[in-house]
């Protein structure tokens, strides 16, 4: 693919055509500025803050470090696709209930990271939760409430499955 060539990304199950973009743009930039999907946030643009976390072919990654054109043929999931009808997921609701949202900037990345963790580990230990969220920086220092939100989702899901 060369400069300004149109390419297609598969995001949340839908095909999106990327036009008039510079071919070196990150997936984060393309999501936000080309495709109108601003859920992933851009802060550090070097993979340090996790606010741009998306799921790429099943892996939670920093979309700022993905060359968008290299993600052709991949399955991309963003926070917008968690609940297509606009309702809140259990993780999102738990963040609200537990007061885990302050300024909200890191929240979409954290929501993606928490969903990804709980999809693979239904009963994480405290250390596993902390390690899984170690790439998502919250500077309002809300980690205690974020961990409380994760605990709540884990216990509610466990209760529902019994």
């Amino acid at each position: 693919m060369s400069e300004h060539e149109i390419y297609t990304l598969r995001i949340n199950g839908d095909e999106h055509h990327v036009k008039d973009a510079w071919i070196g743009e990150s997936l984060l930039y393309v999501l936000r500025e080309r495709l109108g999907l601003p859920g992933a946030k851009g802060a550090c643009e070097q993979g340090e803050c996790g606010s741009c976390t998306v799921v790429l072919d099943g892996d939670a990654v920093c979309s700022c470090l993905v060359l968008a054109a290299s993600a052709v043929g991949s399955e991309i999931a963003t926070v917008e696709g968690l609940s297509p009808d606009g309702s809140l997921t259990d993780v999102q609701q738990a963040f609200i209930d537990e007061g885990a949202v302050q300024c909200g900037f890191c929240t979409p990345g954290l929501i993606m990271a928490v969903h990804h963790l709980l999809d693979h580990n239904t009963t994480p230990t405290e250390l596993e939760v902390k390690e899984a969220l170690s790439g998502n920086i919250c500077r309002c220092t809300g980690y205690g409430r974020i961990f409380a939100a994760v605990d709540k989702v884990v216990s509610v899901r466990l209760g529902a499955s019994q």
């Binding site: 070097q46 700022c64 470090l65 060359l67 290299s70 052709v72 170690s134 790439g135």
Partner: protein, 287 residues
């Protein structure tokens, strides 16, 4: 700028022969930072994420030799059979960035960039790893010790793609330790990988030997050959003594060649290497 997405190694090598100065992209954790900040403007990028050949690993049970594809992400080394075979690599992998970075970053990328702070590189040095490269004219292998030639410099030739690394599984204890300003999401200030080969199985003449490699404390990864020889030639009865373990660390620190930079000072790094080396040897000889 052009982005090429080959789906096989052969196709990638063909593209690279047509664009010898192309940048090779795997996890993007180095290259995309430079692109995002306009520090590098590649003319051609060959993205290797669809090359299945690079994403596999295997253990030859007979020779106990392990081969890891250049595109295997660190996340895959942290747990499971790969971690069981190479716990020192698993420990190193777990210190790389964050889960998001470990899902993307690869040993091939670490080798391509060849930063002295690359977390996987001390492991490859301590394990005397072989680097496998392919080009259109064939494939070749080179020792890691000859591959890394300086900070961000390596022996990869134009037209070559790093395809895998291979190494023998050590017969004894192995471990990795790293110092940074925090636990997660940190570039190494100093790191060390230590491996013990348990020697003969006969209890009477069991002669353990050690290999230790240091990261972030020199222009390349540093193998402490003098420290290794000193310890390997000690009488067995002395090898585990507290004073020997302490001197081992001091000697390893003396073999490091750290500098002052924005991340730390040479003095602190040398001290950190002494502590890490002693600690690893202590763990390895008490286990």
């Amino acid at each position: 700028m052009t982005v090429l997405l080959p789906t096989s190694l052969d196709e990638a090598l063909q593209m690279l022969s047509e664009h010898p100065s192309a940048d090779l992209l795997t996890g993007g954790t180095d290259l995309m930072v430079e692109v995002n900040f306009n520090h590098r403007k590649p003319t051609t990028v060959i993205a290797l994420r669809q090359l299945a050949e690079l994403h596999t690993w295997s253990i030859d049970q007979q020779t106990q030799r392990i081969t890891i594809g250049a595109g295997v992400p660190y996340a895959e080394m942290e747990h499971g059979p790969l971690a069981d075979a190479l716990p020192c690599l698993a420990e190193a992998a777990r210190t790389v960035g964050s889960p998001q970075i470990r899902a993307a970053g690869t040993l091939g990328g670490n080798l391509g960039t060849c930063s002295p702070a690359g977390d996987g590189l001390p492991v490859l040095s301590a394990l005397d790893a072989t680097i496998h490269l392919s080009s259109q004219s064939g494939s070749r292998e080179i020792s890691f010790h000859d591959f890394m030639t300086g900070p961000k410099r390596n022996a990869r030739q134009p037209g070559e793609i790093i395809t895998s690394v291979s190494m023998n599984i050590p017969t004894g204890w192995q471990g990795y330790a790293k110092v940074g300003v925090r636990n997660a999401m940190v570039i190494s200030v100093a790191s060390a990988c230590l491996v013990i080969d348990s020697g003969s199985n006969s209890k009477d003449n069991d002669q353990p030997s050690v290999r230790i490699a240091l990261g972030s404390v020199g222009p390349t990864i540093i193998r402490c050959r003098e420290t290794e020889n000193w310890w390997n030639n000690l009488p067995n009865a002395e090898k585990r003594s507290a004073s020997v373990i302490q001197e081992f660390g001091v000697r390893a620190g003396q073999e490091s060649r750290p500098i002052d930079d924005h991340r730390s000072t040479a003095e602190y790094r040398r001290h950190a290497i002494s502590v890490l080396s002693s600690r690893l040897l202590h763990r390895g000889t008490q286990s």
